[in-house]
Amino acid sequence: VDEARGRFDEIYEAYSGLIYAYALRRTGDPDVAGDIVGETFLVAWRKLADVPAGEQVRPWLYAVARRTLSTYRRGDQRRQRLVHRLQLDLPSHQVQTPAGEPDDRALIARAFNALGPRDQELLTLVGWDGLSNEELADTFRCSRAVVRVRLHRARRRFQRELAEVGLQRHVVSGHEPGRWAPAHPDPEEA
């Protein structure tokens, strides 16, 4: 038991903050984020023998947190409400846009909101949580090639939406008339 507790302690110490940030970013609610951390690490504790070693711990935890978040969004009430039961006071450092300052974040947000949930999830796991392609593949349990292609396409779609809101040059490729292509700088236009 001491050995298990020691290993769990290391995992919890290293990754609970990341999982809490992951959940808070997606729920905006510290209590819910705390519940997701609680349930994610409860799974890790109960299935400690199944938790992989080394660099694979992180995507394993993200995969569990992702499922837990999905369960929460479905309104499933079977979850153990640890945070509510313990009445914890959880931190929340949410970014505030400075009032009155010109900020194209609103335009970026509009472009981002036009993406599908799958693209949004991929891009935020990279941009917010810093997951590598390998970690994404482990999190989604798919091959790296699949992740690479999906990410490539998500980036392209986001670039297209950025162009739609005026934040990206819109370049159409020669062999695909009418279809959007990645915005490569055009020396003649530069």
Binding site: I108, L167, P185
Partner: protein, 298 residues
């Protein structure tokens, strides 16, 4: 206006949380400590020697395997890919009340669902879009909740095409999950795809009418003729839309109009795993080459 906005940088700018400050406060918070203490008072599961997360190695032609995200209990099914027509499905009643389901070749998902429902097992069937040659196959099955090894257990002698499991239908109280592969709707992305040179797939037979090794520029011309968009993946380099100078190693469809092409650049000696369809002696793939006239000539 700026020419380029890096998409990931833009996403970072939307980050609703100050990660550094949050990490600092979390690391010293009472909540973190309280959660840890609460969690570690819970019982730990005893590791089981027959966990159901065994995932048989997929054949090389199935690079794009769908993610199965059902609590880690549903596993990919052996023999889900195009194989010999040896499909056999059998249900056996064992003396201890267990039900043994076994199959050789492609598992008939509807038959399995019917069998389980006969025993009042709650079966949930879901489908996922796949490339043409994979339609109708079962790509995942298993209980949604862990119920102990006495209730559900994979057979020990699985092979690439043969598999079996046992289930105690009287003790089973949860939901049994079945993931069946279906044809994609127009424009719908495949969740899984067989190699594009496989019989029934978009490039079936092409390898029979081109010189091998297949060059990127040669394939590009064929794809253009077929109305296919290519996402070029050069070995160990990120994707692009430019046709690379190198040897095509394998091709998989992403959806009905797009293929993902893996290329080894000229001069690159990185060991790679080429398609079995793109090697000398391809004439042995009779079924595949039969369609050469419709795809490869032109």
């Amino acid at each position: 206006m700026s020419d380029q906005f890096d998409p990931v940088d833009c996403v970072r700018r939307l980050d609703p949380v100050d990660g550094e400050q949050l990490a600092t406060e979390w690391s010293t918070s009472d909540a973190k400590t309280a959660l840890f203490q609460e969690i570690t008072t819970m019982p730990v599961e005893t590791p089981s020697k027959t966990r159901t997360v065994q995932r048989p190695a997929a054949p090389r032609r199935a690079v794009l395997v769908a993610a199965l995200a059902i609590a880690g209990l549903v596993v990919a099914v052996p023999g889900v890919l195009p194989g010999p027509d040896t499909a056999a499905y059998a249900v056996r009643h064992l003396p201890d009340g267990l039900l043994e389901v076994s199959w050789d070749g492609d598992l008939d998902g509807e038959a399995l669902a019917a069998t389980l429902r006969e025993y009042d097992v709650d079966v949930r069937v879901e489908t996922e879009p796949v490339s043409p040659s994979m339609v109708g196959q079962v790509s995942g099955l298993g209980p949604l909740e862990q119920q102990g090894n006495a209730v559900f257990e994979w057979g020990a002698n699985a092979s690439e095409t043969e598999s079996s499991f046992t289930l105690d239908p009287t003790a089973f109280s949860g939901t049994f999950y079945l993931l069946i592969q279906r044809a994609a709707e127009p424009g719908e992305r495949y969740a899984a795809a067989a190699e594009a040179f496989t019989p029934g797939e978009v490039l079936s037979g092409l390898q029979c009418s081109v010189d091998l090794p297949l060059r990127g520029e040669v394939l590009a011309a064929h794809l253009d003729r077929l109305g296919q968009t290519a996402v070029w993946n050069v070995v160990d380099v990120s994707s692009s839309d430019a046709v690379p100078q190198g040897e095509v190693l394998n091709v998989h469809a992403i959806d009905a109009e797009t293929v993902d092409v893996m290329v080894r650049l000229d001069g690159d000696t990185t060991p790679a795993d080429p398609s079995p369809y793109l090697t000398p002696g391809h004439e042995t793939h009779d079924d595949s080459c039969a369609a050469a006239g419709s795809v490869g000539s032109g």
